[in-house]
């Protein structure tokens, strides 16, 4: 009952925020509202008991998207341009699509219905077999890392491709260091502001440590490679904000970041290939060790590390790509 009240209240706020984001013409206000939107979204996931997803939304939405949006905003005008053409066509297309989606929801099973097809297909088998085959308590990690290892490999390649795509688009005409996060050399970052500097310096190691905890605790609680990669990237971005982008690039040069993007994906694939060489199927971790349960655990830890490395490298590469752009 109480979940329903929370859910309805938060979803109402979500709709109001979404309308406000569309209505406002000030892009900075839109960025602020988007950060509220993501907080609401994470609270909703949390109430639906999807802790892993909520943690992802928390790690990506609260810190990194705001920073990247602001980086993009610094390169453009603060107000949205009005485009008089095609407004009615857009309205028509959106209305038809919305009507179709609302119509489709009539076929949807009730929220949380235990007889819904999605809960009857393979989910019971996963829940039953996870303790036996892997011996880890978090079924989400088991499904993500092992049962659906192919899907996660695909996701890692999507992150990889997205990173390369953003770098490719943004590096056209590059070479001038004058974006948001590297203004002029005499006053880089926020290093002249005492309070953010002191508090921020204290926080950086804790954020990175917490990221590592999320990475390696993913088999026992909410967390895993995606979330950990984002949290560690946030820690490095905090350092870049405090000390200027150049110092962050000194600590972690672009080549290292690209190496992380490629290396993580390679590590994941490598674990799969190692399974094949040891006589199993691609991404079958049972053969990695003499005991299949330990083998599964080793495999999951290794591929989660691959995911984390790729995500962290990609987010930081994208951040630096925005920061290095010339405003026009």
């Amino acid at each position: 009952m109480i979940e329903v009240v929370f859910g309805v209240f938060l979803l109402t706020l979500l709709v109001i925020t979404a309308v406000a984001v569309v209505r406002t013409e000030n892009l900075f206000v839109a960025v602020m509202l988007m950060s509220i939107f993501s907080l609401l979204m994470a609270a909703n996931f949390f109430i639906l008991d999807a802790a892993d997803v909520a943690l992802t939304e928390a790690a990506i939405g609260a810190g990194i998207t705001t920073v990247i949006f602001l980086g993009a905003l610094a390169l453009t005008a603060q107000r949205e341009k009005r485009s008089p053409n095609g407004r009615f066509a857009t309205l028509g297309v959106i209305s038809v699509l919305a009507a179709l989606m609302i119509w489709a929801t009539f076929d949807k099973p009730r929220l949380g219905d235990p007889d819904a097809p999605v809960h009857q297909h393979v989910a019971p088998w996963y829940l039953e077999q996870t303790p036996e085959l892997m011996g880890i308590p978090n079924v989400v990690t088991a499904v993500l890392g092992s049962f659906r290892g192919y899907d996660t490999l695909g996701e890692v390649f999507v992150v990889f491709a997205a990173c390369i795509g953003v770098l490719f688009v943004l590096s056209a005409g590059q070479g001038l260091d004058r974006g948001l996060f590297a203004p002029d050399p005499e006053s880089e970052g926020l290093r002249h502001h005492l309070i953010p500097k002191v508090v921020g310096r204290l926080l950086v190691p804790f954020i990175v440590l917490f990221g590592l905890y999320v990475q390696f605790h993913g088999e026992y609680g909410p967390g895993g490679g995606f979330q950990a990669g984002a949290i560690i990237a946030t820690g490095v971005i905090l350092y870049a904000l405090l000390e200027g982008e150049a110092s962050a690039l000194n600590a972690l040069p672009r080549s290292v970041l690209l190496g992380m993007v490629v290396g993580g994906a390679l590590l994941y694939t490598g674990v799969g290939v190692a399974g094949m060489l040891l006589g199993g199927n691609f991404l079958d971790y049972s053969v990695l060790m003499s005991d299949p349960v330990i083998g599964q655990q080793v495999g999951i830890v290794l591929i989660e590390a691959g995911v984390g490395i790729t995500v962290c490298g990609s987010l930081l590469s994208i951040f630096h790509a925005f920061a290095a752009r010339e405003a026009r």
Partner: protein, 96 residues
């Protein structure tokens, strides 16, 4: 039982303050109202998640609230940086 009643009342109070912060974020009128509203909203989310974690009896979900508490700060620093570099650019343009 009493614990649950307290958690319930607290979470509803937090929902109300979230609604108020929301109103400030949408009404504005200045940009700083919105920055403040977003910041307050972040804090309220951290509190709501922690209280709900105890209400549901899943204190291990506190990890999530902790993530927000650590990371929200970075977003606000980025906003500071944004205004610092924007005002500097404007000052430079005015000088030119």
């Amino acid at each position: 039982m009493l614990d649950n009643a307290i958690y319930l009342v607290v979470s509803i109070a937090i929902l109300v303050t979230m609604g108020l912060a929301m109103a400030r974020a949408i009404l504005g009128p200045t940009v700083y109202d919105r920055v403040l509203a977003a910041n307050v909203f972040g804090t309220k989310t951290v509190l709501l998640l922690s209280v709900i974690a105890f209400l549901y009896g899943r204190p291990d979900f506190l990890d999530l609230a902790l993530t927000y508490a650590l990371i929200n700060f970075v977003g606000i620093l980025a906003v500071l940086q944004f205004f610092q570099s924007r005002s500097r650019t404007e000052a430079k343009e005015a000088k030119d």
